[in-house]
């Protein structure tokens, strides 16, 4: 794990928003995404739940005539989820995929609560251990920054179905 400023020299800006989980070591935790991964931020979108899906999958929503899955990144990473705010937003994130050697994008929506901040790189942060995240394999790295933790999720692994393979599978309650 290296400093973000070293590994992401070509990225100009990043976007952060709070992780809806209790503080860790008395520090607020934030997710960090490259702004190039983000396509849209939506205020009001109807999310249609899909029965029998895993708890971190909140449903599907329509965006520009496309059906996009909505996920809770906190629950996906196995973090304790605590949110009593109703002013949630949906961020449309894109993840590159390769089909027949052609680059394309897969889209998902993330439920987030404001504020959503945009930061210019480089930022002065250091990598730190992240044993406190249950699904560590779905995380690229955690960084310490201004008395906060920044979590960079491994979106490709999340989309590749790594969740079902590596984490404890839910009991068949259906």
């Amino acid at each position: 794990m290296q400093k973000i400023s070293h590994t992401t020299a070509s990225i100009q800006k990043v976007l952060t928003f709070a992780v809806k989980t209790p503080k860790v070591e008395d520090r607020q935790v934030y997710f960090l995404f490259s702004i190039r991964q983000m396509e849209d931020i939506l205020m009001e979108t109807v999310v249609t739940p899909v029965p029998f899906s895993q708890p971190y999958l909140k449903g599907i929503a329509q965006w520009h005539d496309t059906v996009v899955p909505v996920i809770s990144l906190e629950e996906c990473l196995g973090l304790e989820y605590s949110n009593n705010r109703k002013d949630t937003r949906l961020i449309v994130a894109r993840v590159p995929t390769k089909y027949a050697d052609q680059l394309s994008y897969y889209r998902i929506m993330l439920q987030v609560v404001p504020p959503i901040r945009i930061l210019a790189l480089p930022i002065d942060c250091d990598p730190v251990p992240h044993e406190w995240i249950p699904a560590r394999h779905l995380v690229r790295g955690v960084y310490e920054w201004e008395n906060k933790f920044l979590v960079v999720a491994h979106m490709e692994k999340i989309l590749d179905g790594a969740i079902g393979d590596s984490r404890e599978k839910p009991t068949a309650s259906y």
């Binding site: 899909v50 029965p51 599907i60 059906v67 998902i108 079902g164 068949a172 259906y174």
Partner: protein, 249 residues
Amino acid sequence: MQKMKELLLFQVGAMQLGMDLSSVRSIQGAPGIASKQAVKHNRFVSTTEDQDVLLYNLLAILGNENSSANSENEKLIVVNAQDRPVGLVVERVDGVLKVGNDRIELLSPIFQGPALSCFPSVLKHEGRLVLLLAPQGMVDIAQQRKKSQDLRESLNSKNKDGSASKLKSADTVISRDDTEVTLDSFFAKYDHSEQDELPKTELPQSNTIFSAKEPDPVIQQSMPAEVVYTKCDEIGMKPEPHMNSGRPK
């Protein structure tokens, strides 16, 4: 020329769902059918056409068993699954919709498992998303659920008595008068008609909205004229010309 598809839209609790109309054999009015036994047992036997069908209460399977707003509108949709007819109990049938294939999208593979097998595709309709039900997937889930319930009940019974009780059949079919038969013997009826008949409950034939004896193109042709009593205004659908013609007098 774009291919069109006819979908049957129906309500289960707070959800509106859809289904490929070509898989529908018949639709019958069944007021109050989702109550009582269904809540407890999830399915039972009824005579709807010329043969018995297994009934699955979608309200209970989808976890909305207490949300039926008006049991008077409850319907029984008989579909083909597992090469046999099965009945799906729904809260209300909304009508038939003819859409282009471009309005239907596959559900994201991120969902995996039972969610994907039960709802493999999604309809984009007037800014809303409607999950399209695959009857076979729903039947598989209901059967697994029943097995789990029976196993739990069996284990509980064993623990309570302190002795091994006889394991209840995982696939018990329960008729409306609470008579229990095993699924094996129930299905055997299809292969050996000389076996004892199961208790049956006739649904009032006058409630039959639509019936097609064979799941063939005839269904597609006869459906719009018979089924379409669509309450278009209730679901915000624009009535298509063929829908109005089918509204019951």
